[in-house]
Structure formats: structure tokens, C-alpha cells
């Protein structure tokens, strides 16, 4: 069983396999299930993600009204052809927002690695589908690669906003997506590791400060940021740029930053944006009667 990113990359490199294969093999070993069973389960998760994205583009609004309908705006904007960023980035933003709006509206999603950060990985993945017409199998494999990196973060640091802030959720998701994107684009396992490290480094210190404690503001927009950050990191890594700090040390840094973060900034809905005058006012409006 791999415990670190270094071990994961070394194993993939030594056996001349993709990280997705290492993850699938480990899952088969740990659970005693067949390749087909494991693969099918992930394909089902992919279907849930697809349905969520479509639901968001049809337009959803949360019960509080704090979030919703922005995916529709983003889609219209892309269709107008006036977007400033490239198509891949625009699609990643749109799909990330769409998924997270559905999540905020208590719709059905697949946590990747959490629900609050569920837009990042599908955001990047479906952008690749729109723009580069990747196969179904490549998409499923993308999820296994993301999962392999997330697995190390979850075991060595944290993927919980209450424990480690938003860096542990959207930060982890962004790094997972960057690593998987590098692999999908033909990069080596080592390059995936650099993509992962660069993405996570750029998200270090990010606090979890949801207004009224709801997974809405700023979560939906942070998912868009996490998705575009993943593209930035993947492109840098594919260009041959390396992270000066090894991936495992970045994970450790993220963990330690989380430990020193005050509880007001760890999913309590007290500090940061939650504590702004507008944040407090929205909270009073939402829970005023309770």
C-alpha cells in the first residue's frame, strides 16, 4: 500500500504503469474485489457527476437563495464567445460552479474528496470532455488518479474544512485534479507529482469561512478557483516546471497550517467572510426566526 506521493510515483515509474492502474490494483487488493467491479463503481460515480452538472446547467437555486443560477450565466457567457480566458478554463469554471450549486441545493453529487469541494475535479474533467473529446475510459481513469493523490492527503493530512480549512478541501481537490490532468495529457507520474504540488502550494492557508455556516458563500466560487488553479498547475508541470518543495512536504505543510488555524476559520461560520457585516446580516436573515 502506498503511503506517500513519493512511494506512489516510484511504484508507477518502476512498474511502468499509470497512477490510475496503481490505484485500481491497490483497491482490488484491499477489498478483494475484481477489476470490473471496482471500475464499474467508479463509472457510476462519474454518472452521478454528469447528472449533477446537467442539473446545474438547467438552473438550480438553494433553499436560502444565497447561491444558484450562476452556472446558467456562465454557460450563456461561454456561448456568446466573448470569454476572456481560453475555452478549457471557461468550461472548467462553468462545470465546477454547476456541480457546487447542485450540492448547495441539496441535490445529489459525488464527494471529490468532499461535498464542499465537489465541483473541482468534475469541473476540470468535463472541461476536458467538452474541449478535447476524451473517452469514457479516460474519464474513469482520471478519477482513479485523482483518488490516488487524495488518498495520500486524507491519510497524511486532512480533507476536512473543520480540521484543516478550505486548503484541505478545495486545495486538496485542486491538487488532485491537477495531477490527474497531467496524466490524462500524457505527462509522467513524476510530472503529475509536480502538478499536484504546485496546485496545493497555491492554495495553502486558504481558510474555511462559510457565511452562516452554509456550503454556499464562498464555496461555489472557490470551486471555480480550484478548477482554474488546477489547469494553471497542470500546464506549468507539462511545460517542465518543477515544484521546489516535494509534494509530500507540501502535504505536511498544509497539515501543519491547518493545526495552527484558529477555529473561527475552520468551518464554524464565525470568522473571515462569515464574520463580515454582510455575512452576519445574511446569517441573521436566514436564521432570524430560529
Amino acid at each position: 500500500m502506498f503511503r506517500t506521493i513519493e512511494e506512489l510515483i516510484d511504484k508507477a515509474t518502476a512498474e511502468n504503469k499509470a497512477i490510475a492502474d496503481i490505484m485500481i490494483e491497490q483497491e482490488m487488493e484491499v477489498t478483494g474485489r475484481s477489476y470490473l467491479d471496482v471500475y464499474k463503481d467508479m463509472e457510476r460515480n462519474l454518472e452521478v457527476m454528469e447528472n449533477a452538472v446537467e442539473e446545474g446547467f438547467d438552473g438550480v437555486t438553494s433553499t436560502t437563495g444565497l447561491t444558484g443560477m450562476d452556472a446558467v450565466k456562465m454557460k450563456k457567457y461561454i456561448d456568446s464567445g466573448k470569454g476572456l480566458s481560453g475555452d478549457l478554463t471557461l468550461y472548467a469554471i462553468a462545470h465546477a460552479v454547476s456541480t457546487n450549486e447542485v450540492n448547495a441545493a441539496m441535490g445529489k453529487i459525488c464527494a471529490t474528496p468532499t461535498a464542499g469541494s465537489a465541483g473541482v475535479v468534475p469541473g476540470v474533467l468535463f472541461a476536458m470532455k467538452e474541449k478535447h473529446d476524451v473517452s469514457r475510459e479516460e474519464m474513469v481513469r482520471f478519477l482513479f488518479t485523482s483518488g490516488a493523490f487524495g488518498f495520500v492527503v486524507a491519510n497524511n493530512a486532512s480533507i476536512s474544512g473543520a480540521a484543516g480549512g478550505c486548503q484541505a478541501e478545495v486545495g486538496s481537490a485542486s491538487a488532485m485534479a491537477a495531477a490527474a490532468l497531467v496524466e490524462m495529457a500524457g505527462g509522467t507520474p513524476e510530472m503529475s507529482g509536480h502538478g499536484f504540488a504546485i496546485a496545493l502550494k497555491n492554495m495553502l492557508g486558504l481558510v474555511c469561512d462559510p457565511v452562516a455556516g452554509l456550503v454556499e458563500v464562498p464555496c461555489v466560487k472557490r470551486n471555480a478557483a480550484g478548477a482554474s488553479n488546477a489547469l494553471t498547475a497542470a500546464d506549468m508541470s507539462l511545460a517542465g516546471i518543477e515544484s521546489r518543495i516535494p509534494a509530500d512536504e507540501v502535504v505536511e505543510a498544509m497539515y501543519k497550517i491547518g493545526l495552527t488555524m484558529p477555529s473561527a476559520l475552520r468551518e464554524t461560520g464565525r470568522g473571515g467572510l462569515a464574520g463580515t457585516p454582510t455575512g452576519e446580516r445574511l446569517k441573521a436573515e436566514i436564521f432570524g426566526g430560529q
Binding site: V38, K108, A111, E267
Partner: protein, 221 residues
């Protein structure tokens, strides 16, 4: 390692909005229900830390109720769990606690049905993953990944050996075991995680062993 499967990371499929505060909460409710062995008539649910601060916005309350009703993380009925609880005659009370526990996402469930009572303390550690950290105030560590036996027994010589001998006699392999007690000589709790599910016959045999007070079976969730 706390996370063992790739589906702990890419998953669970769930009703939003939070994997720790909604899906994890549902799983704590489900696991408590499984430990209790039936649906409670009444539950006092104590919420701590981030659970206390944000449960309304995250649907933590309805997810815990949903879990107690047997709803899984992806069951839409979680959203209307309060109505389902009313229909089922299950009464739930939430109590907000100021005290800090070992983990920011902690819920303590006190379940009642007739004269049966059970207190389960669960934590939600991220991405929908949970652990049970105490039962009736006995500290334990239980992931819910494997079937388990919880054996309350007198803290006297030989009880542990008698229980493990029964399991060994039925060729049941113990994957992990720990013993906790509050005070020396008092009632202690043996937590035994097993590789596979065991039959009622074996459970009855363990329950009848000298020194054993009560046995709770936890099925794989």
C-alpha cells in the same frame, strides 16, 4: 491508515451540501442505529464544535435523523427526515454543547426504546468518513468498515479468554481487538473487529459466557 479505499476519496454519492456534516452525520446515525439494533423511539442528540455551529445550514440534524431511520447518504428522504421521523413516531431532541471535544465534528447520540438505552459518540473526520469514539462513555475506536462485536463484561480474570476461546472454536478470525474500562474491577468493554459476519448462535454463546454482561453486534455498514 484511516482511509482505505479510493471510494472514500471519490465518493460517497450523497445528498448535499457537506460530506462531513451531511453524509458523515447520516452515517453516524446509521451506525448508531445498527449498534442499537433497532429504531429508537427517542433520541437526545448532543452536538459539539463545528457540528453545533453549523448544523442547520448543513442539514446535519436531518442527516442524523435520516441515519437513525435507516436512510443512506444518497437517500433523498434525508431532506424531509423530520417528517418521516414524525410519521414513524420517533422523537428527536437536539442539544447544543459549548464544551470542546477531541474532534470539531462530534455528535453524541443517546438512544432510548422502552427500557433499552445506548449512548454512541461519533466523529466525522472528512469526506464522509466517520469513527465511533465512545459507547456508553467507554472510549473505543470503531470505523464501521468491518463487522464487530461489542462485549460489555465484568473486569475479572478469564472473561476475555473465554470470549476469544468461543470465537476461536468457531474458527472466527479477529482482525482487531481492544479493551476499555472506566474503573478497575468495574464493567469493561471489549471491542472485537472481525473479518466476516458471525452467526446469531455464536453471539448467543458469547452472551452466555461467564462474566459477560451484554453483547452488541455491529454489522458492516
Amino acid at each position: 491508515m484511516k482511509y482505505k479505499s479510493v471510494f472514500d476519496i471519490i465518493g460517497p454519492v450523497m445528498v448535499g451540501p457537506s460530506s462531513s456534516h451531511t453524509a458523515g452525520a447520516a452515517r453516524i446515525g446509521l451506525l448508531a442505529r445498527s449498534l442499537f439494533g433497532e429504531q429508537p423511539d427517542h433520541a437526545d442528540i448532543y452536538l459539539y464544535g463545528s457540528f453545533k455551529d453549523t448544523y442547520r445550514g448543513h442539514g446535519t440534524d436531518v442527516a442524523l435523523i435520516g441515519g437513525l431511520l435507516g436512510f443512506d447518504t444518497d437517500d433523498d428522504r434525508i431532506i424531509t427526515a423530520k417528517d418521516h421521523a414524525d410519521e414513524a413516531g420517533m422523537h428527536i431532541q437536539f442539544i447544543e454543547m459549548e464544551e470542546e471535544r477531541s474532534h470539531p465534528n462530534t455528535a453524541l447520540l443517546h438512544l432510548v426504546k422502552g427500557s433499552d438505552r445506548l449512548t454512541v459518540e461519533g466523529i466525522s473526520i472528512g469526506g464522509g468518513k466517520i469513527e465511533v469514539v465512545s459507547i456508553n462513555d467507554y472510549p473505543i475506536s470503531l470505523s464501521g468498515n468491518y463487522p464487530a462485536l461489542l462485549v460489555f463484561h465484568k473486569d475479572t480474570f478469564g472473561t476475555i479468554a473465554r470470549v476469544t476461546t468461543i470465537l476461536g472454536g468457531h474458527q472466527i478470525n479477529v482482525s482487531q481487538m481492544n479493551v476499555a474500562r472506566k474503573e478497575k474491577g468495574d464493567i469493561a468493554l471489549m471491542t472485537i473487529e472481525l473479518d466476516e459476519k458471525i452467526s446469531q448462535e455464536v453471539i448467543d454463546e458469547v452472551a452466555a459466557a461467564e462474566g459477560v454482561d451484554r453483547v452488541i453486534e455491529m454489522k458492516e455498514s
